[in-house]
């Protein structure tokens, strides 16, 4: 999620590891997995983590609605985790976009959605943020790219692509594809 150069430097020369079709197919597969794992859509809500997870959550919700046209689809929201980070006061924190959770998460099956899973710290802060809105029945995690290097005991439930990286590299994810750059090359 974040505004650091980490995931937002597609203009830098980098190595494209997934193309637009790959991203689209990954989202389709994750949408199927979310429906299958939850045996339908009852109580399921997608919550994108600001800001990088929001577009992914929107595409997943659209895909789920396409797969299951006879249902109402899933509830969709977003959460800004910046006020819950554990590095506040250590580095500049600029809140992204304001959280948008118009439904109650109480008793819901919340699927947190982000573009890249890295250290897990953003997910931890998002879990704390969600907890302040209510007590979900369960929380699952969907990411397009899992690049490893976890610093907390957090794992994704739905992954578009496992992408081993070095921590010097940065990973950029958009609907146009996934690009790795940096790494001293």
């Amino acid at each position: 999620m974040t505004n650091t150069p980490d995931e937002k430097s597609p203009e830098l020369s980098g190595k494209q590891v997934l193309g637009p079709d790959d991203v689209r197919r990954a989202i389709t597969r994750m949408a199927h997995e979310i429906i299958e794992r939850n045996r339908g859509l009852a109580g399921v809500a997608l919550v994108g983590i600001q800001t990088g997870g929001v577009w992914v959550a929107e595409l997943l919700a659209a895909e789920i609605a396409r797969i299951e046209p006879e249902t109402d689809g899933v509830r969709l929201g977003s959460v800004d985790a910046s006020l819950y980070r554990d590095d506040i006061g250590l580095r500049p924190v600029t809140p992204g976009t304001v959280s948008d959770l118009t439904f109650s998460v109480e008793g819901a099956t919340v699927v947190l959605v982000d573009d890249v899973l890295y250290t897990g710290r953003t997910v931890r802060s998002a879990l704390d943020a969600i907890g302040d809105y209510g007590r979900p029945k369960s929380v699952q995690l969907a990411v397009i790219v899992d690049r490893g290097h976890r610093e907390l005991p957090i794992r994704p439930d739905y992954v578009g692509k496992n992408l081993p990286t070095s921590s010097e590299e940065s990973v950029s994810v958009t609907a146009e594809g996934v690009v790795i750059s940096g790494g001293g090359s």
Partner: protein
Amino acid sequence: MSRSLLSISELGEPGLRRLLSIADHMAEVNRRANPKVPALRGKTVCNLFFEDSTRTRLSFETAAKRLSADTMNFAVSQSSLNKGESLRDTVETIAAMGVDAFVIRHGSSGAPWQLSSWTTASVINAGDGWHAHPTQALLDMYTVRTTLNRLEGFDGLRVAMVGDIKHSRVARSTTEAFKMLGADVTWVAPRTLLPPSHKEHVVAHLDEVIDDIDILYLLRMQKERMNEALVPHLREYTTRFGLTPERAARLGDHVLVMHPGPMNRGVEMAVDPSELPGNVINQQVTNGINVRMAVLFDLLGSGSENSLAGSPEA
């Protein structure tokens, strides 16, 4: 060197806009059933109020608590200042207890600057003399921005600021912020209540502008001013500058009516404000918490550029 919020001009337009957009996040927190976030855990904010205040002190204290900071309240009347301790010694004593930010209100203009030269903690000006009251200006801007949905700026908005401009730190800071965001400000005041030099457009009767404004900002008319013979009589003041039932009837429904409080009913506010369609006085108070949370978070939560360089993300 820690950062401080001392005046709107030192904050500058980018800083003003940044704080207003952080305040959106705080407003979302304050709409929740449990309006509290852990952002400033472990930080201590000390309220140093050398002048009476209800809303500003409570507002800062609430703001700090909703960000999970600890608060210390310094009551001058019960302090060692009464034993002859100097302000500087008092401040250094408190700072030695571990304070991350001082919120200071003082009757002398410039006191917050003096304080910031003595301490490494952040200093927030909560009103100094007749000089500045930047968080009031922020809450006023935030109120206009959210009620009129003017996120990009206030270009073309016409503001009438009415009353005792000369002795008002609110008038100074709020006028400056309005102009920074592009609004046109007219001061409506008798000559005796204007500062000696100024660049603002001035009129001497509220009726001259009341039909052509978008925001009516009434200042508190202090009764002491009458004893100083700056105003002949409060009733005459009301006749020329007060919001009377006749003027309220002329006021367009779109006109926001604002007041920094505390209000003198029957003087500058000669109608019941709750009956005015554009009354946003209570929103100003609510927004005070939002913008003060934004200020505290911006000063205490942002850290330095390089202390954790390359910190991992996501």
